[in-house]
């Protein structure tokens, strides 16, 4: 069932996103071609015309790049919102468990977002053909500074952060769907109120931790200071621990967001 849900989800998302991806690629290609023409005609009468055209297509490409990411995010939000609306009567009648619906939507959302980002990066390189070599060099330099494990950490962290972002949006929509009317407004209000409440909760938590630390015996504080000074001599290990902690935090947040949203759509589903 999961594969089938994923297939229909990808088809529905692809129907809208593929033409946008294609449009972006076409404009990037045109910008690159005119850029090449401009460099060939350098110093001749054609230069101003080709330079204007190149700028025009580069602006169009930039607009398409923005539209690609925006359309991808909006479309994936809309797909989940529809699941909690009239389409839910069809989808939740299918012989599939609620977690499978959620997982299919989430996998498709993350997959299409990653694909959109990769296409945008590719198009940016294509449109900016002159700076391509320079950009490639900069990126390779950046990556060579980090170990391959560090790069993997960074990528995993970005994926987990993206999952968190989508799951947070799903949770807000699931809470918003509890309202009998004005569900979209309720979802938007939930997004801001819940976000603010979580921020305040973390600030309070850190403040309480700081206050608690002032009450610790001096010997404990001295011990910690020695520990951190010692750790500072092992920069890579500290970086590894920090990166691991961040991954664990994201994974924990993802787990909590998933569990609460799943509970809402399985036990407390409230279709209009």
């Amino acid at each position: 069932m999961m594969n089938k849900l994923l297939k229909y989800e990808c088809l529905a998302v692809g129907r809208i996103l593929v033409p946008i991806w294609a449009g972006t690629a076409v404009f990037a290609l045109l910008a690159a071609m005119i850029g090449r023409l401009d460099s060939v005609l350098s110093g001749t009468v054609g230069t101003p015309v080709s330079a204007v055209l190149e700028s025009f297509f580069q602006i169009l490409t930039a607009l398409f790049l923005f539209a690609t990411i925006a359309a991808c995010v909006v479309l994936n939000i809309q797909r989940f919102y529809k699941l909690l609306g009239d389409q839910g009567y069809l989808m939740f009648s299918l012989p599939a468990a609620p977690w499978q619906h959620m997982a299919a939507k989430l996998l498709c959302a993350c997959g299409s977002t990653i694909a959109s980002i990769l296409i945008c990066i590719g198009c940016t390189w294509m449109a900016n053909a002159d700076g391509e070599a320079e950009a490639a060099q900069t990126v390779s330099q950046q990556f060579s500074l980090q170990s391959s494990i560090g790069t993997v950490f960074l990528v995993v962290q970005m994926v987990l952060a993206m999952i968190s972002a989508y799951l947070y949006l799903y949770l807000c929509m699931a809470i918003g769907s509890r309202w009998p009317q004005q569900r979209m407004l309720a979802s938007i209000v939930t997004y801001f109120v819940l976000g603010f409440a979580l921020q305040m909760a973390f600030v309070l938590l850190f403040a309480l931790a700081a206050i608690a630390m002032t009450h610790l015996p001096q010997s404990v504080l001295d011990g910690w200071t020695r520990f951190f000074l010692e750790m500072s001599l092992h920069g890579e290990m500290v970086a590894g621990i920090m990166a691991g902690s961040v991954l664990l935090l994201f994974a924990l947040a993802d787990g909590i967001l998933w569990a609460v949203t799943h509970r809402l759509i399985s036990k407390n589903l409230n279709l209009p």
């Binding site: 069932m1 089938k4 297939k7 229909y8 088809l11 529905a12 129907r15 529809k82 009239d86 389409q87 839910g88 009567y89 069809l90 939740f92 009648s93 299918l94 012989p95 599939a96 468990a97 036990k267 407390n268 589903l269 279709l271």
Partner: protein, 233 residues
């Protein structure tokens, strides 16, 4: 002895402080056409949503083929909601393929025949159809399954008399005869001739559940008259 296909035991559902269903108990045998009747707000849609697994009860339980509503019961239950739930951006053949993919009991030739009768172009988008055609298509898809239980929520709601006749004929000609059919409606007169049993809900409670012939004999009234008399304000 024939095994019960549907069983509601002490079923209760509340929305906040409002009780939608209050201790509802009944059983349905296979092969029966059951009318689920009651005025607005009596709990008909809630009962069908609970049966389709779209809601969870506060107390009591429903058993369909001996199982609580879930993935297994959804595979043997054909549910027609009281609204258009098909994705408007999809084409006719996409939705048919979706049903064929997810339901093992979906009869593709039957669906194609029924949709051809409606003169629907397989490449037509659902969003471009009239509301009436969308509802008919939804009904055709629901009735193209060889399900063990059909739950039809207001299939006659908001359609003209000619469409009503089409809908009733579609139900009668296409349901699996070993299955039970539950039809919720206000339009008692239209469905009276086809029903074997009637379930009448009043303010969330089961007022009566009995064969239609028995009710007619005992009350000396048609089902429509009985309904009007019971719910006269």
């Amino acid at each position: 002895m024939m095994q019960v296909i549907y069983q509601a035991k002490g079923l209760c559902k509340r929305y906040g402080h409002k009780t939608a269903l209050d201790n509802v108990n009944f059983e349905i045998l296979p092969g029966r056409l059951v009318g689920l009747l009651g005025p607005n707000g009596s709990g008909k849609t809630t009962l069908l949503k609970l049966s389709a697994g779209l809601l969870s009860p506060n107390a009591g339980q429903i058993l369909i083929g001996g199982q609580v509503p879930g993935v297994a019961t959804k595979a043997i239950t054909s549910y027609l909601p009281d609204r258009m739930a098909l994705p408007v951006e999809m084409r006719v053949d996409d939705v048919v393929a979706l049903f064929a993919d997810f339901y093992a009991d979906f009869d593709m030739p039957k669906a194609s025949r029924m949709l051809a009768d409606l003169k629907l172009d397989p490449r037509q988008r659902i969003g471009t159809m009239s509301k009436g055609t969308q509802e008919k298509m939804e009904l055709c898809l629901a009735m193209s399954r060889a399900a063990k239980l059909y739950l039809l929520d207001e299939p006659l709601g908001g359609v003209d008399p000619a469409a009503r006749e089409y809908i009733l004929n579609t139900i009668l000609r296409n349901y699996n005869e070993d299955a039970a059919v539950v039809i919720s409606t206000h339009l008692v007169e239209d469905v009276e001739r086809m029903l074997d049993e009637v379930l009448i809900l009043k303010e969330g409670q089961l007022l009566t559940h009995r064969p239609v012939d028995e009710l007619r004999e005992e009350s000396g009234m048609s089902l429509d008259e009985y309904f009007r008399t019971t719910f006269r304000v």
